[in-house]
Structure formats: C-alpha cells, structure tokens
C-alpha cells in the first residue's frame, strides 16, 4: 500500500485565506431583487446571497454567512465572479468554473463546503 502524501496545506493558500478573512461583497442588502439562504446541516455552514438584478444583469451582489474557511472564501470568490454579469452567464456557470477559480484540490467532504454558495446562487436565479 502506498502512502498518499496529502498536501493539505494547499487548501489554505493565501488567496483562499484572504477571501476568508476579508470577504468581498460581504454584508446584507436593502431591497434586493432576490434573497436566498442555504446551509450544510452536517457542518453548520450558512450562506445568504442577495442579488440586485436589472435588465437581466447582476448589478450588485452581497452575501452574509458563517462557516469554515472554504465555504466562506468560496462565497466571496463566487460573488466576484458574477458581479456585473448577465443572468445567462450565471445560469451557465458550472461547478468546475468555481473550482478552477478557487485553485485548490478538495476532498469530497470539503467539496460540499465549497459548493454551498454555488447551490444558493443557482437557487436564487432559478426563477428568472
């Protein structure tokens, strides 16, 4: 049996940590076009996403939440990805797109953390 060498430090790269400690687009929004929340009951991660949509475009996005570094950094990075973009872009977004933006390898358990904000976002635009 070969020993797998886990490069665990990799998931806490400075880019991830910076988005964890100083998330972009953090805070709630008054009168958003849509507001959706989601959680991972297994670990207690929570994310709320607020969108202002005008002419099929995300003109502003905010989020609040609490949870692990991966879930919170992922939400921050995701909001940066969609800000100013068309709804079609958001609807066409794939899990792989978010993963490549995060730039880290995640174990199956931690993928759920990373995809929490993605799930909430997809849910929030499903009605448009």
């Amino acid at each position: 049996m070969s020993e797998r060498d886990y490069e665990l430090d990799n998931i806490y790269m400075e880019f991830i940590l910076e988005n964890y400690r100083n998330p972009k687009n953090y805070g709630s929004m008054d009168n958003p076009t849509v507001e959706r929340s989601g959680s991972n009951p297994l670990c207690g991660d929570e994310i709320t996403i607020y969108l202002r949509i005008e002419n099929n475009r995300i003109v502003d996005v905010r989020f609040t939440g609490r949870g692990c570094a991966i879930s919170q950094a992922s939400a921050s990075i995701l909001t940066e990805m969609i800000k100013g973009k068309d709804l079609d872009y958001v609807k066409g977004l794939k899990e792989e797109d978010l993963l490549s933006a995060l730039g880290i390898e995640l174990s199956p358990a931690r993928l759920k953390c990373a995809f929490l904000s993605y799930r909430v976002l997809k849910d929030s635009v499903s009605g448009f």
Partner: protein, 426 residues
C-alpha cells in the same frame, strides 16, 4: 497531578498493528476512539482463527464443525455477559448500539399507548432520540431533561419532568460530546420509583469503565463492539429477562423461531427470539477476545488511565486562551472525551463587519489543520444536533482517549492546536 499512568501504554501500543503505520511520515495520533477504537492483534487473530478453524453456520448443523462454531458463539455470549454482570440468557447480539435501541423502541414500544411519555436528556446521541421519535406517530410524547451550565445533567429538571405517564427513561451513561458521566444508579432508582423501565446507552461507558447492570439499576443496556476494541457490526443489548420475554420479536426469519407453520409461528426462547437470521459469529468471537483483552488490563485501570489523561488534557488545553472547552471540568465526572472550539476571533486582520461578532474558526478547519500533524480528531455535530443547538454552536472539535493514548498524544494535540491560527493567518 500524577505523572505516571497505571497502564503500560508503550507495551499496549505494540499490540495494535495499525499504530505502526506512518501517515505523512508521522506517527498517528489517534484521538477518535469515541467514534471507533483501533483493534489489538488478539482480536484480529481471534477472527482469523475463527475463519481458519471453526467456520460453519451455528445452531442448526448436526456435524462437529457446526457444533464447535455454535459453542464458540455461545461461549462468547457468556463471556461478554459476564463482563457486565449479566447472565448469557439476557444478552442479545445486535449490530451496534443503534440497533439495540431500535429493537427496544420497536418491541417494547409496542406496549406503549397514546399519552405515555418517554423521558430522555438533551445530551443524547441521535441513536437514542430518533427511534423514540418514531413512537410519536402513535401519540407517545418524548420529553428532554436539560443540562446545567457545566454540562452535567440538571437533576431538578429531570425530576420535574418524570411523572406517572413516564413509561421509559432512557439516558446515556457517558455523553459522547461533553464526556459527562451521568449518575445512572440514581437515575435508575428515580425511574423505577415511577414504574418506568430504565434504558442505559452504554456505548461510551462499557468500553471505558467497570459497568455492572445490577449496580446501575438498568433494565436495558446497549453498547457497540467496535468502540471497545472489537470488530464493527457486533453490538449487545442486555435486557432483563422477564421484560425481554414480554416483548414481541423485532425481526422475523430463521433462528428466532421454534416452530413455523403456514399461517403462524412460535418464537424461540430469549435471547434467540431477537436474533433473526444467521448471526455475526465472527463479530461475537472478536468482541469476546476484546473483552478478554480489556479484562487483562482491568477496567478500573482503564478508567484510571483515562481520568489521568483527561486531567492532563484539561490542564493543557485549558491553558490556551483561545480555546473553550465544553463539559464538566472535574475529571471525576468526565470520561476521556474533550470537545472544544476556538473562541470568536476579532483580530484586525478580518473584515470590519465580521469583527463585531468575530469569526469562529470552524471545527472542520481545525480538524484539517490538526491532520497535517497526523493528529486525528472528530469535528462536526457528533450525531448530537439537539445538544449542539442547546450549546448554541454549529459544531465542535472533539478529542477522545483510550488505552493506547498517552501524554505524548495530548502534547501533540496541544502543539497542533497552537498552529491553527498561524495556518489560517488570522
């Protein structure tokens, strides 16, 4: 503070093949025995020996080999019963504690009626909550006794919630999160005074301290083999024989019958009445070997060793300002389990809106960072979500100790915790 354990941990470690492994070129610091324990060579050998020399289906064969297998299975039952002060005819083999509790909820639950109450505590594992929730369909009420701020059971609240309608009192002996050791002897007396049956979830006590069903007034005691050096897939339900006899079977099939006719059957005697299908003979044999191993150490010594380790861990972890520890601070009232969290961090390095409340470093990040040093702790809700809600935390990190842990493991845990903020640069 005592500086030496009663147990010779260095020698004990040699009995556990898995502890020779290196993970990331590091010695494994296994601190998750509350979830499952590692297995000594004696248990692994007993299982191999069973398959190499005795394997046959039990209870039915007339040939010699089957008789030998049956004999091994029944001797295991006797040996395991003996370990908890019970006769073999009140020992039912099940898969695990969860199955044992489900068996009672189903079979004894059949005797309950609308308006009856079940009294439990807020510190229970899901396996001692969810099976009882099933009974709410027929109008049985589930009532929870609260805890004190120190994580002990609030006995005033407990006594205030027991009444004539209480038919079942079901309590964990040792909390898998708080480590709290409940005074089951006293709780059992109170339950019996009200005419209720008393069920003890022994998953975290039978492996770690001397437990005698007669002394703790238990009508039922449930525990799992894999949390006490035995294999997975074998557990025990002890039940008072007259109560077991009054209960319907749990599952139907082979083994549990004495006669089957086209439109009706008669049940086998207790305990076989509750063991439908081919049993886990390998598991019973392995658990019996585990019991022998524990007995050779002495359960008083096992308890003494854990008390010694938990005192040391409380002292070391308690000295870290960032860390909050849950559960009793008195090692006399606590098993070898420590749940903890980082206190909220309000450093200048974090977003100003987050600074007001602070960031709680999530237990999953803690466990990931500890794992870089091969320090294995559990993180999450530990199958005790009602308790997490009561403590108002999403999750905790949990370190738990057993006979193969020593002060060096506590030191490794302490050192690894010290690295967490550095890795997150927070």
């Amino acid at each position: 503070m005592v500086n030496d354990s009663i147990l010779d941990v260095k020698r004990i470690r040699e009995d556990f093949p898995i502890l020779r492994r290196r993970i990331n070129n590091k010695r494994p610091v296994y601190l998750d025995s509350t979830a499952t324990t590692q297995k000594p060579r004696a248990v692994i050998d007993a299982i191999v020996n069973y398959y190499e020399n005795y394997n046959a289906n039990v209870h039915r064969g007339i040939y010699r080999l089957s008789e030998e297998a049956t004999d091994l299975y029944e001797k295991s039952r006797k040996n395991i019963g003996n370990f908890i002060g019970a006769r073999e005819d009140s020992i039912v083999f099940v898969r695990n504690t969860t199955e044992a509790l489900n068996l009672i909820a189903y079979s004894y639950g059949n005797l309950l009626r609308e308006g009856d109450e079940i009294l439990t505590t807020i510190m229970e594992h899901h396996s001692n909550i969810v099976p009882w929730q099933f009974l709410s369909r027929k109008g049985v009420k589930l009532v929870f006794a609260d805890i004190n701020p120190d994580g002990t059971l609030n006995m005033d609240d407990f006594i205030g919630k027991i009444n004539k309608r209480t038919r079942i009192v079901t309590v964990t002996h040792v909390s898998n999160v708080l480590g709290t050791i409940n005074d089951v002897e006293e709780i059992g007396k109170i339950a019996h005074d009200q005419g209720a049956v008393f069920i003890v979830d022994g998953a975290q006590s039978v492996p770690h301290m001397p437990v005698d069903v007669r002394r703790i007034n238990a009508d039922f005691l449930a525990f799992s083999g894999h949390k006490m050096l035995g294999p997975m897939g074998i557990g025990v339900l002890y039940g008072r024989k007259d109560i077991l006899e009054s209960m319907d079977p749990f599952m139907g099939g082979g083994e549990m019958i004495s006669e089957v006719h086209t439109y009706g059957s008669k049940w086998a005697e207790v305990p076989l009445k509750f063991e439908a299908g081919t049993p886990n003979v390998e598991g019973a044999v392995g658990l019996s070997a585990a019991v022998d191993y524990l007995r050779s150490l002495g359960m008083d010594n096992v308890r003494g060793h854990e008390k010694y380790l938990v005192s040391y861990a409380l002292e070391r972890l308690g000295s870290i300002e960032d860390i909050q520890i849950y559960g009793p601070k008195d090692p006399e009232k606590r098993g070898g389990v420590i749940s903890f969290n980082f206190r909220n961090i309000r450093s200048e390095r974090i977003h100003e809106q987050l600074r007001k409340e602070g960031i709680m470093i999530h237990p999953h990040d803690v466990a990931t960072i500890l794992d870089m040093d091969s320090v294995m702790v559990r993180s999450g809700h530990h199958c005790a979500q009602p308790l997490m809600e009561r403590l108002d935390v999403p999750a905790t990190s949990r370190a738990s100790f057993y006979i193969y842990n020593d002060r060096d493991d506590v030191d490794a845990l302490y050192d690894a915790i010290g690295k967490v903020r550095g890795v997150l640069r927070i």
